[in-house]
């Protein structure tokens, strides 16, 4: 019965939100809802003024309470000093370990480490390129790779986009049943791909080139002259 009576005297939800609106802690949606209600309801706006009075005085009251003495801080740090040394964690966390490990280095050491890491990445890129062009014949000054006279099949020249990863290129080659025969050519960066075991007609080869050109992996492609 009492609960029913209490429920009856409760105002609309929007009025219940007035204290939070005055404190500025409502979500944007609720704040807009309250603003709209305040604009349309003079009595609610009058009550909102009361809320703002209360808020101001509550802040003033709390601010008048002052601050604790330095005794509180001294007591706290004395207690912390008296605490037993914490045991190391039993569970090993690789991220925690890495964080502590890296944090142990000086900035200068970290700079050297970063340089070494950058060098390693460059060397790795070179290694990958040499593996990728496994049939390459070494450095060439020609801008268009020259095909082996004994090569059989149909061929295209392709320049891969600089953003393409090795994974992207591998996927592209598999999808197009292509094999890298040579490259990258100095100056042009072109690779030679074999796209068919047999000699295709110019129209068929042109269709393959057109399809390859649509791939985001490829920046440029052109049919290669038959050897």
């Amino acid at each position: 019965m009492n609960t029913k009576k209490e429920a009856q005297e409760l105002p609309q939800e929007v009025e219940l939100l007035l204290p939070w609106h005055a404190a500025g802690t409502l979500s944007r949606r609720d704040a807009a809802r309250v603003e709209q209600a305040l604009a349309n309801d003079n009595e609610l706006a009058r009550r909102y003024d009361m809320v703002r009075d209360e808020l101001g005085e509550a802040i003033r009251l709390n601010e008048s309470l002052g601050a604790p003495s330095s005794r509180a801080m001294e007591k706290l740090f004395a207690k912390i000093d008296a605490e037993p040394v914490r045991k190391p964690k039993i569970a090993f966390s690789i991220t925690d370990w890495m964080t502590e490990f890296v944090a142990g280095f000086s900035p200068r050491t970290l700079a050297y480490a970063a340089s070494v890491a950058a060098l390693a990445i460059v060397l790795q890129a070179g290694l990958l390129a040499s593996i990728f062009v496994k049939d390459g014949t070494g450095y060439s000054t020609a801008s268009i790779p020259q095909l082996d006279q004994n090569a059989r099949g149909s061929f295209v020249h392709v320049r891969f986009n600089p953003q393409a990863t090795v994974d992207d290129i591998t996927k592209f080659l598999i999808e197009n049943k292509a094999v890298v025969l040579g490259g990258p050519a100095a100056g042009s960066g072109l690779f030679t791909l074999r796209v068919a075991e047999t000699q295709l007609s110019p129209a068929e080869l042109g269709a393959i080139v057109k399809m390859m050109a649509k791939s985001p992996v490829v920046g440029f492609t052109v049919p290669a002259a038959q050897p």
Binding site: T25, M50, L61
Partner: protein, 166 residues
């Protein structure tokens, strides 16, 4: 820890002081609160603001003290006593500012009502954060705040300030 303490200890102290109403106890409590924080730093999951976490710990500590000691707050009888010792409403209004009376009545509220008013108005906690600190549903937070304000209005009325609400 020093930075955390420097940043939050005053507000935590005021929150606790408003609950326990004793400066020495409040000071003891805040060192207990920050010691707990130091011990449990690894358990802080970052789902709530640090200040919300601190206030929740502080509230728990303050309530533990209040349970051990007799309630020191002013109860209904004490609130009435304020009224008895006051001047007539007209004289009161002449002598004292309305703000001062509001502050006086805010002090006369029950611990439960003081707590929610301080959390909302002074500590700027959202409905959700108050629910987390006090450990009650969000709907209860809203209604408790309403009843706290209603009680405040009644105390003000008794002091001669008629606000036309409730």
């Amino acid at each position: 820890m020093q930075v955390l303490f420097a940043r939050h200890h005053v507000r935590v102290f005021r929150f606790v002081l408003r609950l326990v109403r004793n400066e020495a106890t409040a000071e003891d409590l805040i060192s207990e609160v920050f010691l707990d924080v130091w011990r449990q730093a690894g358990k802080f999951e970052g789902r709530a603001a640090v200040s919300t976490w601190l206030l929740a710990i502080a509230r728990f500590k303050a309530l533990s003290v209040l349970r051990r000691k007799p309630e020191q707050e002013l109860d209904e009888a004490a609130a009435e006593a304020i009224e008895d010792t006051s001047d007539t409403p007209d004289v009161t209004l002449e002598k004292k500012e309305k703000g001062e009376l509001i502050r006086k009545c805010l002090t006369s509220l029950s611990a439960e009502h003081r707590e929610i008013i301080d959390l909302v108005y002074y500590h700027e906690k959202s409905v959700e954060e108050v629910a987390g600190i006090v450990g009650i549903p969000e709907a209860t937070v809203k209604t408790r705040m309403f009843y706290a304000r209603k009680k405040l209005a009644e105390l003000l009325k008794a002091q001669g300030i008629e606000r036309g609400w409730p």
